[in-house]
């Protein structure tokens, strides 16, 4: 086995690796663009909160039907949406800001969810829910994640203009149409849907990573929202591939390896990104001081 072969052999030899790659790439393609909008709407924490919010529903599904995909998916959707609406209601009816009420709700959700799962399952089931089963994806899980990702991307394309307006200039959108609140709710739906599908792959704790890290990295390369979305999707897909390969050779768990790869992509972007990366900023500062010293020499 030479160097090049090592880059694809694990995937050609083992079906579970192919499934893992397909599932995580499908997830990353939709999660990245959603993450870009979360960041643009200053709602980075919201993804985290929602990922925890689906946990009690998943746990109830698990309690009633065991490790059943359908029951856990439906449960997760319900509590995810309930928490989103409750937190928004608290923010609207009381002086507390939305980020604080979200934090409160998701911490409670995490507690309830972990407690519920331990009622029936052991540590294995808990790990399954928290960190996913990317190396054990069955047909149903694969179908779920690829279907949700396709729907998410299609719907994002349909609501793209109003969604951009909602982030950029909500008052303007309001003066032009009544779509604002609808678009907001649809976006939340897509978010919950993707997180619920993604927890099968990476687990509730790690799924946010494939959403936020590539999106945060893309900001250092692209100057338009479209460019950032495309880059985030590609970056997430690449991180999935690299993470799986690393987990195969180093014999470490797959979902943390994927998130760590995404983390490396992020740190490289912070360091070397062409839009405000540290290297570029330092270079510009140096060029500036050189220019200034040349001017003062002339004087």
């Amino acid at each position: 086995m030479n160097g090049i072969d090592a880059l694809y052999l694990p995937f050609t030899e083992f079906g579970f690796m192919r499934r893992a790659l397909a599932g995580s790439v499908a997830l990353a393609l939709a999660a990245g663009p959603l993450g870009v909008f979360l960041i643009l709407r200053r709602m980075s924490l919201m993804g985290d909160a929602m990922a925890h919010a689906i946990l009690p529903g998943v746990a109830v599904g698990f309690l009633t039907a065991g490790l059943s995909l359908t029951a856990m998916t439906i449960g997760g959707m319900i509590t995810g949406l309930a928490v989103a609406l409750l937190a928004a209601a608290v923010a609207r009816l009381t002086p507390q800001r939305e980020d604080a009420s979200f934090a409160a709700f998701y911490l409670v959700s995490l507690g309830v969810g972990v407690l519920l799962i331990s009622l029936r399952g052991g540590n294995m089931e808990l790990l399954h829910v928290l960190f996913g089963t990317v190396l054990g994806l069955d047909d149903a899980a694969l179908l779920l994640v690829s279907a949700t990702s396709s729907i998410t991307l299609l719907v994002l394309a349909v609501i793209f203009r109003p969604l951009v307006l909602e982030c950029l200039d909500p008052l303007f959108l309001r003066s032009e149409s009544r779509m604002g609140p609808v678009v907001h709710v649809v976006f939340l739906l897509l978010l919950v849907m993707t997180l619920v599908a993604g927890f099968q792959v990476l687990g509730t704790l790690m799924v946010v990573g494939i959403m936020m890290l590539p999106a945060a990295a893309a900001r250092f390369w692209a100057v338009t929202a479209i460019g950032q979305m495309a880059l985030a999707a590609v970056g997430g897909a690449f991180a999935s591939y690299a993470g799986l390969l690393f987990s195969y050779y180093a014999n470490v768990p797959a979902s943390p390896a994927i998130i760590l790869s995404a983390g490396i992509v992020y740190f490289l972007s912070v360091a070397f990104g062409l839009q405000g990366g540290l290297w570029q900023v330092a270079k510009q500062a140096r060029a500036r001081s050189l220019r200034l010293s040349r001017i003062s020499e002339r004087d």
């Binding site: 349909v158 303007f172 032009e176």
Partner: protein
């Protein structure tokens, strides 16, 4: 007890917006009280007053975003035709990753909506608007790299793409230099010349005296409304300051 607000326009003139004893506010805080009067079609009106006088709230009330606690606001003509609105610079996210051209293009929303493509005629209008505000070479620049004055020009270009009959601008000159103000003021006068109703929230009273035939002086209620020279008298301005200060005593 409200000091009103006699409108000196002849009755023959058509009102673009009519206010009848309008009260506007949020929850228990009343921002505008008992305001009665009308914005005549094709008029150019400055809305002035101290901070907290309810100027922005009045614009939001006319847009229908704040429903009146009492009284009525009537827009004439096509009831579906909302006025075009220009927000303050602080009201939107200027760091959003979008090109200046795309930002200005949003002004065509009423014709292209969320899904339709930009026709070549629409694209010509877009370039004309950029040209008119002096941003012809800035189309590809990211919005975040524009200066305060350039951003204001972009907002004006976006407003130009509207086909609205009523334009409402919330403090359009608060963050820009003299030259930009003069350029943009020209545009406002040109729109007004095409029989558009223009309502502008302003702080610069000299600018109001120079260019605006009509003025509404607000201070939580209508202090005076009519010809600028009759409205911006020392007595009225003193009364306005006094009324607003009362809120905090």
């Amino acid at each position: 007890m409200a000091v009103v607000a006699a409108c000196p326009q002849p009755d023959a003139a058509v009102a673009a917006i009519e206010l009848e004893e309008v009260c506007l506010g949020w929850r228990d805080k009343m921002a505008v009280r008992d305001l009665t009067g009308r914005f005549i079609k094709g008029s150019l009106t400055a809305v002035v007053g101290p901070n907290g006088a309810g100027k922005s709230t009045l614009l939001r009330g006319i847009m229908g975003w704040v429903s009146p606690l009492a009284g009525r606001i009537r827009l004439s003509g096509d009831a579906n035709e909302m006025p075009a609105f220009m927000p303050q610079q602080g009201d939107f996210d200027r760091s959003f990753p979008i090109s200046t051209r795309d930002f200005v293009a949003m002004g065509a929303w009423r014709r292209v909506g969320p899904w339709r493509a930009f026709s070549s005629a629409e694209r010509d209008r877009l370039e004309e608007a950029l040209q008119a505000v002096g941003l012809a070479d800035f189309g590809r620049r990211p919005l975040a790299t524009l200066s305060g004055g350039q951003l204001q020009r972009a907002l004006f270009a976006r407003l130009m793409l509207h086909d609205a009959d009523i334009y409402m601008l919330d403090e359009p000159f608060s963050a820009v230099d003299r030259a930009t103000t003069d350029d943009l003021m020209e545009l406002l006068l040109e729109w007004n010349g095409r029989n558009k109703t223009v309502i502008v929230v302003l702080h610069d009273l000299d600018l109001v005296r120079r260019h605006f035939p009509q003025t509404l002086l607000l201070a939580g209620q209508g202090v005076a409304w009519g010809d600028t020279c009759n409205v911006l008298t020392p007595e009225n301005l003193h009364l306005a300051r006094h009324l607003c200060a009362g809120d905090y005593l």
